[in-house]
Structure formats: structure tokens, C-alpha cells
Symmetry: C2
Subunit: 348 residues, 2 copies
Amino acid sequence: MRSIRFLVAGTLAAFAISPAIGADDAALLRQAQQIFRPLPKDMGTADFPVSEERVRLGRLLFFDPRMTLDGNVSCATCHQPSLYGADGLPTSIGVRQRPHPRNAPTVLNAATQFINHWRGDRESVEDQVEQALISAISSGQPNEQAVIARLQGIPGYAALFKAAFPTDIDPLTVKNIAKAIGSYERTLVTPSPFDAYLAGDVNALSAAARAGLETFIRTGCAACHNGAGVGGGMYRKFGVVEDYWIATGSQAIDKGRADVTKDPADLYVFRVASLRNVVMTAPYFHDGSVATLPEAVRVMARLQLGAKLKDSEIDDTVAFLNSLTGDLPADFATAPILPPAAFTMPRP
Amino acid sequence: MRSIRFLVAGTLAAFAISPAIGADDAALLRQAQQIFRPLPKDMGTADFPVSEERVRLGRLLFFDPRMTLDGNVSCATCHQPSLYGADGLPTSIGVRQRPHPRNAPTVLNAATQFINHWRGDRESVEDQVEQALISAISSGQPNEQAVIARLQGIPGYAALFKAAFPTDIDPLTVKNIAKAIGSYERTLVTPSPFDAYLAGDVNALSAAARAGLETFIRTGCAACHNGAGVGGGMYRKFGVVEDYWIATGSQAIDKGRADVTKDPADLYVFRVASLRNVVMTAPYFHDGSVATLPEAVRVMARLQLGAKLKDSEIDDTVAFLNSLTGDLPADFATAPILPPAAFTMPRP
């Protein structure tokens, strides 16, 4: 009974429209409500729950550089609060200046995506963390034991792991580090004016943003960029109408998902990017080859949809994309205080 | 008249002692008030004032990695909020993994020091910033123009420089970057229980901390670690009684200030470290050779003063040093949102 009531209330809320708006605005809102979804309160799942203790631990670990080879790279190195959970670089720089092959997407709302990493080779944010912890580029640590040894040398962590994983006999494991950081990441939700719009407040979007939303749907952008993430829900070939690297000036051709699956049908296929907070996370695309959002919009319309957008349509689309910027979560904007170590980091 | 009244009021405040405390506690407090000073509200000076506009700009610049060669190192790389304004490393790691020769002291309260850097070769926090911006290790940029070009490519900055330096025809200069970051750093003050104690609240320090303070003064630590910074006010030879590198296990012998002045009298001379927030900023000494604070206290007493402290004295001293930990300033704990760039960072 309870779930039915919730469902009915949810359905009503989703279709509630303020009475004083025009027919066009009402139609656009109804259409948007069918294509997009508001962000959830958090992104916890049955397998990967959000718990207070895991989030507290995961937040510390996210900002702690001491797990990685030289102690100078943390999750927050490529996912900086000041840069809206990204790093501002075309492609990221890992430990010892080792180059990451692709652009770091923002960690904000990342767990809304159906799969992680540009080529879909990370099942979840937890899988991303687990692999990153012993990746040669992200962490540089040779094995899980090396990561764990570092945390064992920071006395403050033992009780936090015990609290986060109370039934584990030995809670300090790489799997649990990943679960804790994942639990924290699943709280990093940034509701924005667009969510208020989807809830029925037409005036949460400016007239330009609504015109941009209309363009976004009409041109076909929303065929891929939809759902709660406004993207992040499917794979698509980058460069449907013409080759992407010609329009973007990419310095290298990335075969995308084909390198993972070895399936020629996956050539140049990438996970569609979520557009949440996209205004704040330049540069754009898997290789960060395009610097500005108007240019990124122009390129996408041309390459994916064969559409040549007018300047005014691009401006309106950017106004709509602006409505996808939410406030930084307080637990992300504010740095946690890390427990001091009882060892001296080895020099590189 | 006004300045005289201020002086009288200040003198009275400095010697106010709560009436209900014992004679020993009162004597210790009086002694402490003669040796130490509470932190100021901010560290602005006539030459380097704190202004709202400079602080706003300087805070952004402090966290912005895009000024440096590969766009992946900012002031906050070696001065992380999560690590209390330091980096947790024995010696810091700069751009392209280039090694800094010495340990990064916390940026918190740094402007209370009479001179900057371990060897005193930076006149002020502004001088430190100015030199860092074109240092091969800190920034990697070949010249000032390269730094400025990066900021010119981030449209949001122009108005902020204009507001911070309204009488300058061309406000975007390296000198002004340094002044703005310096102005911000001069706000990073962390008053702590010890300041409340110095203001007359004896119970702001635990009995153990007061015993530690007594040990700290009696043993002679306070001969060098005094004033508002509890250090940072003079130069001293490291290793008065015996050579420092034997007791600390230092991997290399650093000649200290002698390498700057070429004066043999400056051999192994360093600026005395401020002990503000020292509990939070392991590892210790100019080369980060000692991992824990009890060991650092033991080593200092032995090397500088020829004193062999009992374990209980070390515990008490650490309890006193704990009273030097203040809250992170809100403008430091919370990351500012950086304006997006209109260019793509060159790949390394």
C-alpha cells in the first residue's frame, strides 16, 4: 500500500504544471518530463548502499593522497572541488606525470551513469576506484597490499573502517576502500534549476533556457542525452555523420569501445557523456579537444545529427545547459581533515 | 589619544587572569604571556594589506592549477586543506615530478614568520609566490608572460584583477598575482585554545597541556619557539649539541642558510619553524625526516638543548602542542569555484 501511494504521488508530482503558463510551455515541460528525470536524493543501490559511516570514511579516502605511490595523487587530483569535480585538463596527468589516455569526467553525479569510463570498462564507481587503486597511471602502487600498508600507517583509519564495515573481521581491504569511496561518491548529487523545472516550476528556466531545451529536443540531442544524468545512459558512436577527429582537431584517433570489446561494431563508440554541470567542466569530449561549450554544441550537432545550428540556437542551448549546473555538495566543497600519518612517505 | 587607549586596553587584556586559579597556574600564565602572543585577526601590513577584493581573487588563484606548466599544480598542491595547509610528504613534489629540496611548511599563519622558506630566502609570502610562479620546480613556467597568458585565457579573471587593483592600467601582472595570493594567505589565521589561554582563560588548556607548556618553557624550547607563531621569528643552527642528521636519520646533509649567504657562520642554520598546527603537519623538520611529533620533540630537546626528556614530559609537551591546533579558516577549508577556461591546456 505504501509503495502504491508513493508511486501515485510521484506520478502526480512529475506531471504537476503550474496553471498560469502558456500551452507551448506546458507542452515543452510535459515532453521534458517524458525524456528526463530529476536527480535522485542520492545514488545508493542495494548492492552499494550509502551509509553515514561509509560516507565519512570514503570522503577522507577520496581526499587522501597517501595511498598512492609517491603520496601526491588522490581522487581529488583529477576530481577537484574547485574545478567542479574535474581537472580542467584535456587529458589527465597521473602519478609521476604518467598520462591518462582520456579526459577526466566530473565525479559529480557520476554514479547516475549506467557504466563508467569513456569506454565502459568500469562497471560502477566502486569498480573504478578498485581498479584505480592499483592502476599504474592513477595510483602507481604495485599491488593491493601496498595500498593497505599505507593506510595501516595512519592510525586514525582503523576505527573508521571498523565502523563502516562492522561485520568484517578484517575491514581494511581494497574492496572496502572502493565501497567507502563509492558510497561517498553516491552522495555527490547536484540538483539544479532543471530539476525544479522538471518538478513543474516552468520559471526555474529562463525563456532562453526553455528555447534551448526545445532546440535540444527538436534537434535530437535528447535522443542520447536524456534521463537523470542528461546523458550517461548508453553507448554511441562519436562521429555518425563525419569523422570526429576532423571536426574536433583531436591529436590522436581513439578507437573507443572497440579496443575493449574487439568488436568492429564498437569502433569509435563511447559512453554518452552526462551533461550535468557541463558548463563548469571544460574542456570537452573524451580527449578534451574542444575548449568551449558553444563549440562543443556546434560540433556535436554537426557530427552526430548532421545539423547546422544557428548561432542563436547554440546560445539558447548553452542557456539550457547552464540550467544543469547545481551547487557543489557541501561535503565535497569542504575538505575533510585527514588523520596524520605515523610514517614518513618514501621519497620517489 | 586613540592609540594610547588601545595600548592600555591591550596591556590590560594581555595580563587579565581569571581570579579562581592557583598561584602556580597564574605564574605560568604570566610567563607565557611574556613569551608568546595571541595570533592577530589577520596578517595584513601597510605594504601588503588585506582587502576583500584581493582576498577573493587570491583565493581563486591559490587553488587554480592552470597557471603552471602542465596545469596540474597549484599552491594547494603542496598546501592542501585536507592536510592542514601542508602536503604530508617529507619533501614536496613539484611539476613533472621535480623534487622540491625541502619540506612544505603549512601555509596557515605563514605570514606571521619574519622571513619565508627554511633558509630565509623569501622575504614575504608575496615574494614566495612571485618566485614560485616562475620557479622550475613549483610552476615550470619559463617566464612571467607564460603565466599571464594562461590567466588571460580564463575570461572570469579580468574583472577580478580590475577590482583588486583598481588604479592599475594593466592589473594582470605577476606582481599583482603575488599580492592577491599573499593578501589571501594573510587571512589564513587559526586561533586555537592556546590563544584563549593567553587571553587569560587558564582552563582553555588541560592540566597536561599546562604541564607541557611548563616543560616547553623550562627546557628552553621557548627560547626559539616564541611569539605569535610559537616559532618563525629567528634563525637558529639545527644541531647545536650534536649533528642533526645523526639523530634524524636524514638522507642528505643540508647546509641550510650557508648555501644562501655563503657565510660559514650560517652552516646548518634554518629559520625556526612555527609550531602552530604542528600536530596536523607531519612529517617534521626541513627534510621531513621524522615521522611523529613525540619523536620530533625528543630529537629537538636532545639536539638543540642537550636535554633528555622523560616520556611523561614528551607526552605533556605534545599535549601543549595540541593546544596550538586551530580550526581551518572557512575560506581555506572550502574550495572556491574557479572560472572555466576558454582554451585547452597544452598536453605535456
